[in-house]
């Protein structure tokens, strides 16, 4: 039953984008003209076709990633892992998802989306007896445009802004803009990238609770949209739909910045599993 719920969440994620993302794409289309407008129109028409046909909106259904917030006293913890792996194999057949798991050295495709380390499952233990699974399908094109910058602390906040702007410009059309940008600051190399990943899990427009970080998000969004990279890198006002920042304290000698770009095809779903066994997919 949990497995079936995860399969339907995978189907939902592969064939649609969250409502607020579609809304943001509409707004972007309305303020663009020329090529930028045509690209956004094609994106919106594609969402319509995918919805009507129940087909994956992008052929690259990514490497399924699951972020599990597991309540420490949930009675379902022992079965979660099996349910996730089983659901991925089943969804690969039935949605279908494109088999995207290949051997790291030989490139041989497992055909099932299962393999060493995939699907990606990240665990976070929290208080309570509920489990909330956030699942995400992110294509290889935007994943390839990930960056880690180990800045000198002397570069300061200006250095962080500079790193983000320069990265977005150098990525150009490759990550399928308009993107959602996740920025992680501090912590260390791996932590900065993990923070950027967590930032991407937030809902569109949901600002960081810290006022200084929220202000940085707003500023970065406007800077990035001034670059003119535009939809698909062909020029325009809309390079990103949103920027989210997460931060951790850092070593005084280090200023790590992790930058992840999520393509416009933000594919997400949420599965909530209550202690009593009831399941909610959204």
């Amino acid at each position: 039953m949990l497995r079936d719920a995860i399969v339907s969440a995978l189907r939902f994620a592969a064939t649609s984008v969250p409502r607020e993302v579609e809304g943001a794409l509409h707004e972007a289309r309305d303020r663009e003209e020329g090529t930028a407008r045509e690209e956004l129109s094609a994106i919106l028409e594609n969402l319509e076709v995918a919805r009507r046909q129940g087909a994956p909106l992008c052929q690259d259904t990514g490497v399924p990633a699951f972020h599990v917030r597991a309540g420490a006293s949930s009675p379902h913890l022992p079965v979660l892992r099996e349910a996730i792996l089983g659901a991925v194999a089943e969804a690969t057949r039935s949605v279908p998802l494109r088999p995207n798991a290949v051997h790291p050295l030989t490139g041989v495709n497992s055909g099932t989306n299962l393999g060493w380390g995939v699907p990606i499952v990240r665990w976070e233990v929290v208080d309570g007896d509920e489990v909330l699974i956030t699942l995400s399908l992110k294509g290889g094109g935007s994943e390839n445009q990930s960056a880690l910058r180990m800045l000198s602390p002397g570069a300061g906040l200006a250095g962080v802004k500079r790193a983000v702007v320069e990265h977005v410009i150098s990525a150009g059309g490759a990550p399928c803009p308009p993107t959602v940008i996740g920025v992680g600051i501090g912590g260390g190399a791996a932590v900065a990238l993990t923070l950027a990943e967590q930032a991407l899990l937030r809902r569109l427009g949901e600002r960081n609770v810290d006022p200084a970080l929220a202000a940085l998000e707003e500023e970065l969004l406007s800077l990035v949209n001034e670059t003119g990279v535009g939809p698909m890198g062909l020029g325009g006002r809309t390079t990103a739909l949103d920027v989210r920042v997460e931060a951790a304290f850092r070593h005084p000698a280090s200023l790590p910045v992790g930058i992840l770009l999520q393509c416009w095809a933000v594919r997400r779903a949420w599965v909530r599993l209550r202690a009593g066994g009831s399941i909610e997919v959204s």
Partner: protein
């Protein structure tokens, strides 16, 4: 919108300029990293490609395909990032006589030169718009190297009908939308960065 029927003569391709939109009808093949590497290896060894006659149009795409009876059905088939294929593409243009390359994100100098020399173009398809693209794919004619490479990397021979809309992004006269875009972002980049520095 202008419709181009494959195979397309050189004069017709030479007449296309960056910024024009068109749709495609006819026979084309998909190839990504593994397909390109294998094609070049076969060319080096003087082996005939298994999918002769080779269509004059390549689509940089790893489609999502499902079995349908004893054939196949394409569910979603948007473009992949073409830049990964830059090491191979000029060779394919010259040795296979390709007229149209379709992908996203643009290609390098080597490909632009080959396109100019041979009278071919690079066309942009909207990234991520896989369901929309699949609507223009009539049927799968055949598939090669499926066992070896798996679904995304295999070479799929497709019949398309009014496939697109596509955008001429690099034409056969050296014009490139990416170069135009890079020039313009270079200017804004300087302006943004100096403002960031001033606020320091």
């Amino acid at each position: 919108m202008r419709e181009i029927v494959l195979p397309v003569p050189e004069e017709e391709v030479r007449a296309l300029r960056v910024g024009e939109r068109f749709v495609l009808t006819g026979r084309l093949f998909t190839a990504r990293d593994a397909g390109h590497a294998r094609i070049v290896r076969d060319l080096d060894r003087g082996h005939a490609l298994p999918f002769a006659p080779v269509p004059d149009t390549v689509y940089h795409c790893g489609p999502l395909v499902e079995r349908s009876g004893d054939g196949w059905r394409v569910l979603s088939a948007g473009p992949t990032s073409s830049v990964r294929l830059e090491p191979f593409a000029p060779r394919l243009v010259r040795d296979l006589g390709l007229r149209i390359l379709i992908g996203k994100g643009g290609m390098g100098e080597g490909t632009r030169e080959a396109l100019r020399e041979r009278g071919a173009i690079y066309a942009h398809a909207t990234g991520g718009a896989g369901a929309l693209a699949a609507r223009g794919i009539e049927r799968v004619e055949s598939v090669f190297w499926l066992e070896e490479f798996g679904m995304p990397e295999a070479v799929w021979i497709l019949r398309v009908c009014r496939f697109g809309p596509l955008l001429v992004a690099i034409d056969s006269h050296g014009g490139s939308l990416y170069e135009e875009a890079a020039r313009s972002t270079d200017t804004t980049r300087q302006a943004i960065l100096s403002r960031i520095e001033e606020e320091r």
